[in-house]
Amino acid sequence: MTITINSIAAHADPASATDQNNHNSALRFITCGSVDDGKSTLIGRLLVDSRAVLQDHIAGVTRSGEVDLALLTDGLSAEREQGITIDVAYRYFATEERKFIIGDAPGHEQYTRNMVTAASQADAAVVLVDATKLDWQNPHLQLLAQTRRHSLLVHLLRVHSLVFAVNKLDAVADPALAFAHIRAALAQFAQDAGITVAATVPVSALKGWNVVDAQAGWCGYQGPTLLQVLEQLPNQPTDTALPLALPVQWVEKTASASANTSQGRRVFWGRVAAGVAQVGAQVQVFPSGQRATVAQVLDHARRPQDVAAGLSAGVVLDREVDVSRGDWLLAAPQAVQAAEDDFDTPAPQSPWPGQRELQATVAWMDDEPLVAGRVYWALHGHRWVKAKVRRVVHQLDIHTLAAQDAAELAPNAIGHVELLLQEPLPAAPFTRARVLGAMILVDTASHKTAGAVLVN
């Protein structure tokens, strides 16, 4: 699609604007790939060709009359001095279809820390593949380690959509053959790893082919451009089909201005982690175990309505119960269906039982290694508890995610650990419920965010 000022302005015009687009929430995506793969150039190309870069910024990166796209993405003076990218930068552009937020994570040695940071917020990831670095004439070519690594990390963090952008095809002798072989290798790798691929697009970031503007038929490819793919990708699905779980962020002590809120009742605000907050639902407070019924649900802006996972809700209960920040409102326990010959009625079970011992995958971010025996602060939902690392089970090979023996986790390593919590938490596997399965570990002395925890 060609993007022009007029078409954007026409879209914004009240007379022609419609709310029919159901995918016009902003898409947050990250770009992966090492510096030489042309990542900065690709981002620069997306920004420039979609007119997100204004003249004064373009003038700032013009050297000898040539626009250096890569310079657009290196913001800090230390980065320009050293020619490296230090940290995740967030960039914005919009087409008439959609707003985009790019989490631009550097591909350098601190890749794990930065990638995990950026990927934790992302709906999608674009993994850049440099065609010139591959033995493209070989139909059974080997992918680069970083392609596998980045894809596996994105998969581990449950980023919903993965797009391969095969770059620098303008610089190989037979781009159609190269693209066919690389695409086949990517598909085989993804299948072996259990990764679903949303699209594989041949691009030239330098020349701008298939990034924003289509280069029809190039490399034998007739599909959508990278931007068109991004415009159509879904947002990260939320865990709405699960039993309700809401971490209490803030307790509103006085009656709110909302007319329907009963006088004197407290409103428990928080972003729904799983399920749907709806009137009439039976809930149990974690950890106190008190039961209540949901009397009213407000959305983030205090309008009465049911609220699904991923959005903030204000919950009013039908009775006074003791609830503080850090507690959870969980779906009340359900009676377990007993077998016909079982005369004992089993006790109802919470759909989100408390856990004190956790097996977890940890992406280690601190400069000090993670060592068994140390106690950290853990933040889960809005609750802080002490967590002791009981054992490093093993480290994951960063290229294959295969298990290796290890006694500690070095900076940027990923591994499996056993954690012992000071108090139980309603933690659940990250693969089942993102919010309930995610924690951070914080160093008790330095207060640094030291680890990203995915509950197994």
Binding site: A15, D19, A26, D87, V116, V435
Partner: protein
């Protein structure tokens, strides 16, 4: 009180601009505003009366209800503000029932903690000193600001919860990873956080939201006649603080301000846009960034904002 925008002037059709991405931005902002209220003991919200802080205040109104904003509003006054903006600031704080604290650079100058190189120097950069003094005076542990990542390269790198040491310094190389929405708000005594709830908004989002929510703004934001001189491609307003230089021609132009700050370093742009909707359309077609078009002080060095942030600036 004539600073308030006549809301009838906002086109009734502006609500058609509503769309899901504004709802998502609003939701995120409200989530962050509540997190600050709950996680910190003595937070404050930086409030200048400008459009970004008015958008934040609108979100705070939704987050907490009118009359219930659980932190004071803090203004660092350079003494060089447009009166329409300070009037509007006072009006809006009273309307919301919020406590307003004003601390001024002139008081810091009287104390001797701010020394100007020459009397005409912009006081904008010296706000950091007064700000840090206010932080110490009130022992604030979190300051909410309306900065956006699209404004400036250094901002694009900053976290939503940005840790500052006891000198108020930002250390870009030692930022805490910000994972999911698990915000690590732990600090040692004397340290504090700067929190940016509208980090992910762009100038366009802000104007779309102003149009959608009928947010009243100081009239300076809309087209008006003003005496200006052209200087190095910028339109410099003619005021007692910014008189014309020798040989400069005073002209009356139809202008509006894209950003409103210290008089000595804020320039209007030529524009006939009389409503938020007009500005949305104009912003879509803009060729120059907000800061590039309007700020005299950012041009001195490519890294001026980064340097100032490291020194404790917002």
């Amino acid at each position: 009180m004539n600073a308030r925008t006549d809301t009838a002037a906002l086109q009734p059709a502006a609500h058609h601009l509503s769309n899901r991405h504004l709802d998502a931005l609003e939701e995120e902002t409200i989530f962050i505003l509540r997190e600050v209220a709950a996680a910190f003991e003595r937070p404050a919200l930086l409030f200048s009366g400008g459009k970004d802080s008015l958008v934040m205040l609108k979100c705070a109104e939704k987050a907490f209800g009118i009359g219930h904003i659980p932190y004071p509003l803090l203004m660092i006054d350079t003494g060089h503000n447009f009166p329409e903006v300070t009037d509007f600031r006072d009006f809006r704080a009273e309307e919301l029932g919020a406590e307003l604290i004003v601390r001024s650079v002139e008081d810091s100058m009287a104390r001797g903690t701010v020394r100007l190189a020459h009397p005409g120097e912009s006081r904008n950069v010296h706000q950091s000193v007064t700000l840090l003094e206010a932080i110490e005076e009130f022992r604030f542990d979190a300051l909410i600001g309306g900065a956006r990542r699209d404004e400036e390269k250094a901002r694009a790198k900053e976290r939503i919860f940005s840790h500052r040491d006891s000198f108020g310094q930002w250390q870009p190389k030692a930022q805490r990873p910000e994972l999911w929405t698990l915000f690590n708000t732990r600090i040692a005594p004397g340290e504090h956080f700067r929190v940016f709830p509208i980090s992910n908004w762009t100038e366009l989002d802000v104007w779309q939201y102003i149009a959608r929510e009928n947010i009243a703004l100081p009239q300076l934001y809309y087209a008006h006649q003003r005496q200006v001189v052209e200087r190095r491609g910028l339109l410099v307003p003619v005021t007692p603080l910014t008189p014309p230089k020798d040989g400069e021609q005073i002209e009356t132009r139809t202008v509006r301000f894209r950003t409103v700050g210290d008089i000595t370093c804020t320039c209007p742009v030529e524009s006939p846009a009389a409503s938020a909707h007009d500005i949305v359309i104009e912003t879509l077609a803009a060729e120059v960034s907000e800061r590039g078009a309007t700020r005299m002080d950012d041009k001195t060095s490519e890294a001026s904002m980064e340097k100032r942030k490291k020194d404790g600036y917002f």
